[in-house]
Structure formats: structure tokens, C-alpha cells
Amino acid sequence: MDASQKALTVNNLSVIYDDKIVLRNVSMEVKKGSLLAIVGPNGAGKSTLIKAVLGIISSVLGSFEVFGKPIASMRKSIAYMPQRENIDWDFPVNVLDVVLMGTYGKLGWFQRPGEAERKLALDAISKVGLSGFHNRQISELSGGQQQRTFLARALAQDAELYFMDEPFAGVDVATENTIMETLQKLKDSGKTVVAVHHNLDTVQKYFDEVVILNEELIASGKVENVLNKENLIQAYGKSIGKNLNKDKSVFGTDLNPDGAIG
């Protein structure tokens, strides 16, 4: 792959938590303009991979580059949508406050968000279908609206590379559609998205590239080439193989004879 076409390069990444190795020697590349899903069983290190790249976790071995440059110099081209579970949703802020936080990266610790930032934030809010909700207290949001708020904040970061941690987790159908459309629009405008995803049924529907992970990298590449029985059994264990045999439509599509989903 031509270096200018790479949004993210990860070389020999390992992550250690206390006495446990969470990720072992993961190397991967993400093409510019792709929608990539990271899948794998619980505890496979999917979120950890993202957090390690972003520098949220520091006990990290290995190296990574964003658009061919060290991450420290590329912060302003990166957006992040964390999981909403670890958030105190009774915190005294409204939707606009949260989305404005997306502009803090460019503003730094001391500069106040101005009219331009406010416009950017309101625009992001309307893009995720929350127009009119900008003054709403976050404690009064439904789960789907919370997720849209976080999506809007990522959009307000106005980045080139988007990291999303379980964007589709626990949302209603309307929100799922909004997120899907947003991902598609990002792709259409040449942005790159790397998302942790838990639902194998929808990988093919939403993404074009996939990374299968279980502590180590099992496989990576185009969804249709990689998301097959062999790789999934390797990542999830034998039990998923039984499901695949019993119900061929377990991933929403039939498995072709060699096990690839097509």
C-alpha cells in the first residue's frame, strides 16, 4: 500500500495490564477512506486497541502512525467516540456543552469556544438528528440520544480519522440508522472510520473492512474475504462454529460452501 493511502499503521502493538497481556503483537493497516470494524469476543482487547493508539493507555509496546506521521502531531485530525457506559449522565451539562467539547482539542486548555465553534457544534447536532435538543440536559436523554450526542461531538472534532467504541451498542433502530448514514457520509467525504463492533450480523451491512481480534490479530482485510467460519472459530471458539452449521443465516446472509460470507 502506498504510504499516502494509509490512515493508520500499527506495528507490533502489545498492551500490558498489570500481570496480563491484553494485546499481543498486533500489526495492521487501515486504508484511507475505509470503514473498518474491529470484532472479537468480550475481553479480546478491541477497545484497548483504540485506547492504545489514542494514548489513553500508556503501558503500550510497539509503534503506530496516523497518515504516516506520529500521533502527537496528528491529534487534530483524529476524532474519538468513547463508550457511553462510563459516563456520569447526571453531570451538569447540556447537549450543546458536550458537543462543544469536540472543539476543545483545537482550542486547547485556555481558549474559549467562539461563534465559529458554536456553529460547528450546532451543525453537528442537526446532522445526527438532535436539532432542537441542544439545550436539553443530558440526564433527560434516552440511550439513543446520548449516543447521538457523542456522535455529534465526534463530528464537531472535524477530523480525518474517526475512532468509535461500540457506536451501535444498545441503541434504538432510528439511532442505528442515523449512525449508519453518518458513517456512510464520512466515507463519502473521504474520511476514515475505525469502530469497535460487537454484532457480527451487521458487520457486512455497515463496514467494508474488518479486523478480527482475540488478544492477537486473527485476520484483517475486506469483510467478504475475512469474515469466514475458520477465522471466527479461531477468534470465538468452537461454539460459534456449531451455530454457523445449525443456522446458516446467523450473520444475516448465507455462508457459501467454503464458509465465507457472500
Binding site: L54, A72, P82, F91, V93, N94, Y104, G105, F110
Partner: protein
């Protein structure tokens, strides 16, 4: 009685107010981080440090004693982290364990020192337990005032960044911000304000002056900045008013007066705050609850005439709050849905019957 308008008293009040304001602001940050009780660990752990500092130097100099307090307060906090992370003890268990053991050590040491060091009973070590504004020297007030101001100067410019780091530390980390550094800064500021609060508010109660103001302020507003400002003001009013009261009535220790003022403000806030206060919430939900319960009553009256006692007996099987049940029965006659006949039975009026029929469609049928 003290001359309340003297220069010295004014300075004490100003110092106290400044301390309260700073405690309120820093306390609000810890409160919104959901770790407000760590201040109690620092305060109680500070006592051994005060005593040892006095024992070693035999000096009553406040900065020396408070330096000792800071060192042992930080030590207590370090123990807390070790207990929680390495020994996997629950956060609140680790807190009570450390604060009581450190306090126990402090008290024992202080009795020992008062036995071995001549004249030490006059050093006022006991003043640190409940706080005594009147016992504070003028130069000490300047110390308290200066340090409070310094803490404010550090925290105020970074409040916007602090909002993000408290709300969503992972996101802040993704911006390349050093969240761990901010956490240490916040803990350091908390330790400092708690320690300089010791002579005035006392070990036992100083943690409350970082906890009560934000809890009270949170009732009044949903804005981050206003929670902090409100917390600062409540802290300021509590400390100033508490010190004033304790200055007038000489035998009153300052800490308890301050906490009683703060506690009263909390109580009033929890009752009367417009959106989150108990009264407002009760009015908001109570009205609906009574309206719904009265519909249930109407459905029974539709079938038969029932006495009040019988109505209350039936409704208590559906709803356990007797006050609402009684109010709901009252609501029937008050709204004109039902009348009582001579024998005390409730009879549905035409209006009540119409209301019931209208609402049963909306609610999808009440049985």
C-alpha cells in the same frame, strides 16, 4: 463578647470566607468526579502529621504544623490508593479503615506528646480536632487567605478543561491531554485546602465543607459553571457566618457552627430548589399520581357506590402511600367527580362519569 467590627475580626472573617469559597470550588470538582470523601481521608490522616511536627520542632508555628499535616495527609491518601488498587479493598471500606486508624494514631500520639513535652497542652493541638477560629493568630489568617487565593489562581483558568476531564476522561485523553496529571493536581489542591482548613473547621468536619456546598449547589442548577460558583458561594457564606457565630459565642467551636450553617443551606436547597427540590418534585409527580389514582377510584365508583373507608381499603391494595390515597379520595369531591350521600357513600356525578369515559380511552382501559 467579641468586638465584631474590629480589624482583626474582619480579617478572620475575610480569611474564613476566602477559605470557604476555595473549598467550595475544589470540592465541587471532587463532588462531580464522585470522589468527595477522599477529603475526609486527608483530614483525618493529617492529625499524626500535626502532632509529630509539633513534637519534633516544639513550635506552634502554623505553617510548620500544617506542613506536617500535609505530609501525613498525602501519606493517608497514598495508603488509600494502595489498599484500593493493590489489595482490592472497596473504596469506601479503604477510606473508613485509613481515616479511623490514622485518626486513632493521631489522638494517641497527641496524648503522649502532651505528657512528654512540657507546656504542650497549651499548644492547642486539640483545637485542630473541632477547629477554633478565635485561636488563630493574625499571621495565620494571612497564610490561610494567601494559600486559598493561590489555589483559586491555579484552578480558575483551567475550569473549562477541567469540565471535560471530569466529565469524560477517556475523551480528554484522546485529545492528548494529560488527565492523570490533572487528577494529581486536583488531589493536591484538595489536600492543600483541607489542610489549611484544619485550624478553622477542624479535622472532624473539614471534609464536609468540601462536600456539602457542591451537593447543595447542585440542587439549584444544571450548569457546570454555576454549580461551581454556587458551591463556592455556599462555602463562603457557611464559613463566614459560622466563624462569626463562633466568635460571638466564645465557647462554640468554629467547625460545628460552620457545618450547621452549611447543613441548613443544604436542607433548604433540597426542599425549595425549583427543579430538583423535594417540594417541586412532589408537586410535579404528586399531581399526576393523584390524577391517575383518582381515575382508578372512578372506575370502581362506576360499578357501585362505596364508602370512604371501603375506598381507602381497596386503594391501599394498589398504592402503598396513604397520603396520596387520602388525597386522591379527596380529589374526587374537590373536582366534582363524586358526591357523598347521607350514609357517607360516594356516588359518581355525571361529570365524573364523563371524565372517566373520556380518560379510559386515553389510558387504554383501567380495570
Amino acid at each position: 463578647m467579641l468586638d465584631v467590627f474590629s480589624y482583626n475580626t474582619t480579617i478572620v472573617l475575610v480569611g474564613s470566607a476566602m477559605l470557604g469559597f476555595t473549598c467550595g470550588i475544589i470540592g465541587a470538582c471532587m463532588y462531580l468526579k464522585r470522589r468527595p470523601l477522599i477529603g475526609d481521608v486527608i483530614a483525618h490522616s493529617a492529625l499524626p502529621g500535626i502532632v509529630v511536627a509539633y513534637w519534633v520542632t516544639e513550635s506552634k508555628n502554623l505553617s510548620v504544623l500544617l506542613l506536617g499535616a500535609l505530609v501525613s495527609g498525602l501519606l493517608g491518601m497514598a495508603f488509600h490508593t494502595i489498599f484500593r488498587k493493590a489489595l482490592k479493598i472497596y473504596e469506601d471500606s479503604a477510606m473508613s479503615l485509613i481515616l479511623s486508624v490514622m485518626f486513632g494514631i493521631g489522638i494517641t500520639l497527641s496524648r503522649h506528646v502532651q505528657n512528654v513535652v512540657p507546656n504542650s497542652s497549651k499548644a492547642g493541638l486539640d483545637n485542630y480536632i473541632y477547629g477554633k477560629a478565635a485561636g488563630i493568630l493574625m499571621q495565620d489568617v494571612w497564610l490561610i487567605l494567601g494559600v486559598s487565593l493561590l489555589c483559586l489562581v491555579v484552578i480558575l483558568p483551567i475550569l473549562r478543561a477541567a469540565k471535560l476531564m471530569i466529565f469524560d476522561s477517556a475523551f480528554a485523553g484522546s485529545l492528548g491531554w494529560n488527565v492523570a496529571w490533572f487528577d494529581y493536581l486536583l488531589l493536591a489542591l484538595l489536600s492543600i485546602v483541607v489542610v489549611i482548613g484544619l485550624p478553622m473547621v477542624g479535622i472532624v468536619m473539614v471534609a464536609a465543607i468540601v462536600l456539602i456546598p457542591p451537593a447543595a449547589a447542585r440542587f439549584w442548577t444544571d450548569k457546570f459553571k454555576l454549580v461551581l460558583l454556587g458551591s463556592g458561594i455556599i462555602g463562603m457564606v457557611s464559613c463566614a457566618l459560622g466563624s462569626y457565630v463562633s466568635a460571638i459565642y466564645e465557647k462554640t467551636p468554629t467547625g460545628p457552627s460552620i457545618i450547621i450553617v452549611a447543613g441548613s443551606i443544604f436542607l433548604l436547597s433540597s426542599m425549595f430548589a425549583p427543579k430538583r427540590g423535594v417540594i417541586s418534585l412532589t408537586l410535579k409527580h404528586g399531581k399526576k399520581r393523584i390524577a391517575y389514582t383518582s381515575l382508578l377510584l372512578l372506575s370502581w365508583l362506576e360499578k357501585e357506590e362505596i364508602t370512604k373507608v371501603e375506598l381507602l381499603r381497596k386503594i391501599s391494595a394498589c398504592s402503598t402511600n396513604p397520603v396520596y390515597n387520602l388525597l386522591s379520595v379527596r380529589y374526587l369531591t374537590w373536582k366534582g367527580y363524586a358526591k357523598r350521600d347521607g350514609s357517607g357513600r360516594y356516588i359518581l356525578t355525571d361529570y365524573g362519569s364523563a371524565t372517566f369515559k373520556k380518560n379510559i380511552n386515553i389510558l387504554g382501559g383501567i380495570k
